[in-house]
């Protein structure tokens, strides 16, 4: 266990160290991005390629009476116009979602959210395609929409999913976890019970690159080649095979460079299917790239949880139980991307980092006339919502008990000797040592001095707040016996091939969207077999080139695929040892591994490098008996448990009492993601996630008007933060390795997005304490903060 404040990046601006294995090094993929040589889906140009544009519904809920495409078909450059009715004839109007619901590819009967796909045009260029959209005449009968999730289950609410047989209401599922009776018993006898209504509004991942695809169906070969913006190319290929009836070996899904995913690029969108249909029908490659508004109004949103949190404690601050009731808005189709047995994702970790006697959650999910989605925006399968709930309600308890929020947390932490720790909702936390992480964050912050400063400022009428959040995440899904997506087990393959000259290629089933896989995975392999990262090519994102696996989301790349990479490298090293024993004419047992070479024990002069061994593996001369030529291996890794990274975040805000504007003055983030592979990449992930957190806490929200019009349809309306809204991040780390992961790594991709919003909201609420405020919902825009200062804090929905 070490506790370290991260040095400033400027101290490591160059790449002198070039570690063979773990350590700080510049990203291998960056030269092409920095020089504008990235190759994204929209960069794909194929001979004769056509362009597709989608007509979308202007209404949230309406019956389609007629669709007239004749003028569009006659428009210049138009090759094809397709409606829902035409797809229905081919049995393609509906497709399965990742949650075993169905979603319309193109609407046939009704439109169920504003922005839903109604028809598409394929034309010789994107201008002609767009021009023709305006000539499609759709007659709608506008229906009453359901916009507020609270209205969805009222007896007289309009029925959204009349396409589903025997569906009579807007109910999606009920779900519960924990022990209701035991929890009630604890609550009934507790000294103190605090209750708060907490809303996590609808937000959007808004990746810089919008979604899109290029479909190229070769009728002669019967092969479909699809470039698409996907975080899970293998899973998509299997689903296309099932939906479209094209044999899986005749489908190649290529996920080229991806300009940010954040969960937005996990689902299969109707646009991808339209591009495939367009290519099959025209016999030409077809490109579809959605625009910014289409991305914001129709693709995977996140959150939309209306939560009631309750916490029970003793008067002296021992937390006993947490209970919550959640109304989950899933939009028009249940398109949540989560393991099948987890309809609420991993929300069950709402018990947080605390040792409780009981916990219980009851959730109801409903359909509304809003875009489908739910699991996105770096949420680790709903852990964002869970952490926000517990960290907000713990602060409410601290307020009730008049206790310092840091002290209250420390008093209730799960203790190091309790790990592996099974929570009251059944999650087995693998390892953790929370208090040093918390203490380090407090040290970096100068917590005691900050409280003193706050006291002085309060006396002068200035508004300063200090907010704390302590999170435990559950990432790295599977294990496959518990976790699958549409029947596909959440395991990942990896293949490593060492060439004769000692250079290597490692093939991954996960796909980077900016996380730096080409560097991190080269370092993981380098650490195990001693080949420098520069000599290791990382291949990913192409189903014809890589082994099967479920892809990158839920912070699962390092916990799952990273384990696969380490283990496949060990397999190669084992074989290298056999070959080395032949080369050195000693028994295997007499060899020891010093990174990059095998040497005879006690005789450092007698050794062979991994490069020597690689050449021998492919070269002339006999190998030891029973050893095949070549130096390569393949593996499929099925994790035995999730990994549980944790972190302590402290935020300091100042609020202008006259304008109610919130300024994030400082933000201290101490993360424990287990073994650290490339600290620079970890910091980058943390910085990005913290910025996300500022956005969600202070400005981001996909709002709707009462007619169901999306009010966040552009980046002028849906605000995402800039460098001017964020402070100079202060980061540190502790290291508590995962006991079951081959290298002890836990994953960090979503930690900061999960952990930062409660720290910021807690800080704002802390600053507003003089006004008697205990809770205010995100987004804490100046106007909403001003309302809170007047005692009129309202939920955003």
């Amino acid at each position: 266990m070490t506790a370290v404040q991260e040095p400033k990046f400027s101290e490591f601006h160059d790449n002198d160290q070039k570690p063979v294995g773990f350590g700080r090094m510049l990203r291998k993929e960056d030269p092409r991005f920095i020089r504008g040589r990235g190759r994204y889906t929209d960069d794909i140009q194929l001979p004769g390629m056509l362009h597709l544009a989608i007509l979308r519904s202007p209404f949230a809920h309406a019956r389609i009476l007629s669709v007239d495409t004749s003028a569009a078909e006659a428009s210049p450059g138009v090759k094809l116009v397709v409606t829902g009715a035409m797809l229905a004839e081919k049995g393609l109007a509906w497709m399965p979602t990742l949650s075993n619901d169905v979603q319309a590819v193109l609407a046939t009967d009704k439109v169920r959210f504003q922005g839903q796909e109604v028809a598409f045009v394929v034309a010789d260029d994107r201008y002609h395609a767009r021009d023709a959209l305006e000539l499609i005449d759709v007659e709608y009968e506008v229906l009453e929409p359901v916009i507020d999730a609270r209205r969805a289950l009222e007896p007289d609410a309009p029925l959204i999913r009349d396409d589903l047989q025997d569906k009579r209401n807007n109910h999606v599922f009920d779900w519960e976890t924990g022990d209701e009776a035991a929890t009630e018993a604890v609550f009934a006898s507790a000294d103190v019970v605090v209750r708060e209504d907490i809303v996590y509004p609808r937000v959007h991942p808004a990746p810089m690159e919008t979604c899109g695809a290029v479909a190229d169906f070769d009728a002669v070969e019967g092969k479909l080649k699809l470039w698409s913006t996907t975080q899970a190319p293998h899973a998509h290929r299997t689903l296309y095979a099932i939906v479209a009836g094209i044999p899986e070996h005749k489908i190649q899904v290529i996920s080229p460079d991806i300009g940010g995913g954040f969960g937005n690029k996990v689902p299969i969108y109707p646009g991808y299917v339209c591009a495939i249909v367009g290519s099959i029908l025209t016999g030409k490659p077809v490109k579809w790239m959605e625009d910014r508004s289409e991305n914001l109004i129709s693709t995977g949103f996140a959150r939309d949880y209306i939560m009631r949190g309750e916490i029970a404690a003793t008067r002296d601050g021992r937390i006993l139980a947490i209970r919550t009731n959640v109304l989950a808005d899933h939009g028009a189709f249940n398109g949540t991307a989560a393991p099948v047995k987890y309809p609420a994702g991993f929300f069950g970790v709402f018990t947080g980092s605390y040792d409780l006697q009981a916990a219980y959650c009851k959730m109801t999910a409903v359909y509304t006339n809003k875009a489908p989605g739910g699991v996105a925006y770096a949420c680790s399968f709903r852990i964002t919502e869970a952490v926000y709930l517990v960290e907000r309600i713990v602060d409410c308890l601290a307020d009730e008990l008049n206790m310092d929020p840091a002290a209250l947390r420390i008093k209730n932490f799960i203790q190091p000797d309790q790990f592996p720790y099974e929570t009251k909702t059944g999650w087995v936390y693998d390892s953790g040592n929370y208090e040093p992480t918390m203490r380090l964050a407090m040290d970096i912050a100068g917590y005691a001095e900050l409280r003193k400063e706050q006291e002085e400022k309060r006396a002068r009428g200035e508004l300063m707040g200090i907010g704390i959040s302590f999170f435990t995440e559950a990432v790295g899904a599977g294990p496959r016996k518990h976790m699958d997506i549409l029947g596909l087990g959440m395991a990942d393959g990896c293949e490593l091939r060492v060439h004769p000259t000692g250079k290597a290629v490692v093939r991954l089933s996960v796909q980077t969207q900016g996380q730096g896989h080409e560097t991190t995975f080269a370092q993981i392999v380098a650490e195990e077999i001693g080949i420098p990262p520069a000599d290791i090519e990382v291949v990913h994102g192409d189903t014809d080139q890589t082994p099967f696996g479920l892809g990158t989301y839920g912070s699962r790349s390092t916990p799952v695929s990273g384990a696969a990479a380490a283990l496949v490298a060990r397999k190669v090293r084992d074989k290298a040892q056999l070959i080395a024993s032949g080369m050195l004419e000693v028994s295997v047992a007499d060899l020891e591994w010093v990174k990059g070479a095998f040497q005879v024990k006690g005789d450092p002069g007698k050794s062979v490098t991994i490069q020597d061994i690689a050449f021998r593996a492919h070269g002339a001369g006999d190998l030891p008996e029973g050893v095949e030529g070549g130096l390569e291996a393949q593996i499929c890794y099925n994790p035995s448990n999730l990994t549980y990274p944790h972190g302590a975040y402290i935020c300091v805000v100042d609020i202008d009492p006259g304008t109610a504007q919130v300024k994030v003055r400082r933000f201290i983030a101490v993360d424990d993601c287990g073994t650290r592979i490339n600290p620079m990449i970890i910091e980058g992930q943390v910085h990005g996630g913290l910025t996300d957190g500022v956005g969600m806490a202070l400005m981001e929200m996909i709002a709707f008007d009462e007619d169901g019009n999306c009010l966040g349809a552009s980046l002028m309306d849906y605000l995402i933060p800039t460098s001017l809204e964020v402070p100079d991040w202060e980061t540190g780390y502790t290291v508590t390795p995962s006991p079951h992961h081959p290298i002890g790594a836990k994953g960090v991709g979503e930690s900061a997005t999960v952990g930062s919003p409660p720290a910021i909201v807690n800080a704002v609420v802390d600053a507003l304490k003089p006004f008697g405020i205990r809770h205010a919902d995100m987004p804490l825009t100046p106007s909403r903060v001003w309302d809170a200062m007047r005692g009129r804090a309202t939920p955003p929905i």
């Binding site: 201008y127 021009d131 001017l724 825009t781 100046p782 106007s783 309302d787």
Partner: protein
């Protein structure tokens, strides 16, 4: 990708040639200067013009800041960045630098222009509020020659100005009077966002330290950026102090006409009109005194 409907494009070679094109093409044509409002609207197909006349080649003629003794003349194609960086302008009217610091971002400021901002006539637009505050006049040229209008006359309604289909805004004239100080402040949800509310204030102090004249201009609280004559009338002849600023703020809060939207409630915006009026008047007076 958002793509506009078809249009034709021509680069202007002179002001008169551009006016000639406008005369011929009428309302189907639109001038493009910085393009930061027009092009997004065209891409969203909210604006569909058949012709675009690009006046950026006229920057040499229409991009200037001339600070004279009686007035400052600013060419309509002067870019935000030039307004931001001009020390002479900041010395005469610090309100310009205050405002430019909070307009959009450097990329937009490199390209966007004073004339384009005013002609867009967005009720939330900052430079319109600045020009209203300073009692600027607009020089409009057309086939029948030049005319000069006040800001009140210039703004006809939201997104609507006095500039005719065959006319071009070519210059802004800001009168200079002694003893002046000015300031601008904006509340936004995020850097580069449109204002929730913004306010500009200008004061002119007499030799005895009393206010000889004062003006306040507000943005985002009504159909147009608005000057509030009642504030001017109330402040004239007063000794500037907190009591006076408070009265001005109260007038601003009740005189404006905000609506509740995603940026804030009507009530909050009225509060900001008050708060920002007081803050900018305070700063303007401090500057006038120094």
């Amino acid at each position: 990708m958002q793509v506009p409907a078809p249009f034709e494009y021509e680069r202007a070679t002179s002001v008169d040639q551009a006016i000639g094109l406008l005369e011929r093409l009428g309302s189907s044509a639109r001038l493009v200067a910085g393009g930061h409002s027009l092009l997004p609207m065209m891409k969203l197909r909210l604006a569909n013009f058949e012709y675009l006349i690009d006046i950026n080649p006229l920057h040499d003629q229409l991009g200037y800041i001339r600070v004279g003794g009686d007035e400052v003349r600013i060419g309509a194609l002067t870019r935000h960045r030039e307004l931001l960086e001009s020390d002479e302008l900041a010395s005469a009217f610090p309100i310009f630098r205050d405002a430019e610091r909070v307009i959009a971002d450097p990329v937009v400021r490199n390209r966007g222009t004073l004339g384009g901002s005013l002609c867009q006539a967005d009720p939330s637009e900052d430079l319109s509020a600045v020009c209203t505050t300073l009692d600027a006049h607009c020089v409009i040229r057309g086939p029948r020659g030049e005319r000069v209008v006040s800001m009140e006359e210039f703004h006809v309604g939201p997104y609507e100005t006095a500039v005719g289909d065959d006319e071009i805004l070519i210059e802004i004239r800001v009168p200079r009077r002694p003893g002046s100080g000015s300031a601008y402040q904006k509340v936004e949800r995020r850097a580069g966002d449109w204002a929730v509310v913004s306010a500009g204030a200008a004061v002119w102090l007499a030799g005895d330290g009393t206010i000889s004249d004062a003006r306040v201009g507000l943005a985002a609280v009504g159909p147009n950026t608005t000057g509030i004559p009642e504030i001017s009338a109330t402040l004239r002849g007063q000794v500037p102090d907190e009591r006076v600023y408070q009265r001005a703020g109260e007038i601003a809060a009740r005189s404006c006409d905000p609506v509740t939207d995603q940026r804030g409630s009507e009530e909050y915006k009225r509060h900001l009109a008050d708060e920002l009026t007081r803050r900018t008047l305070r700063t303007a007076v401090e500057r006038a005194r120094s």
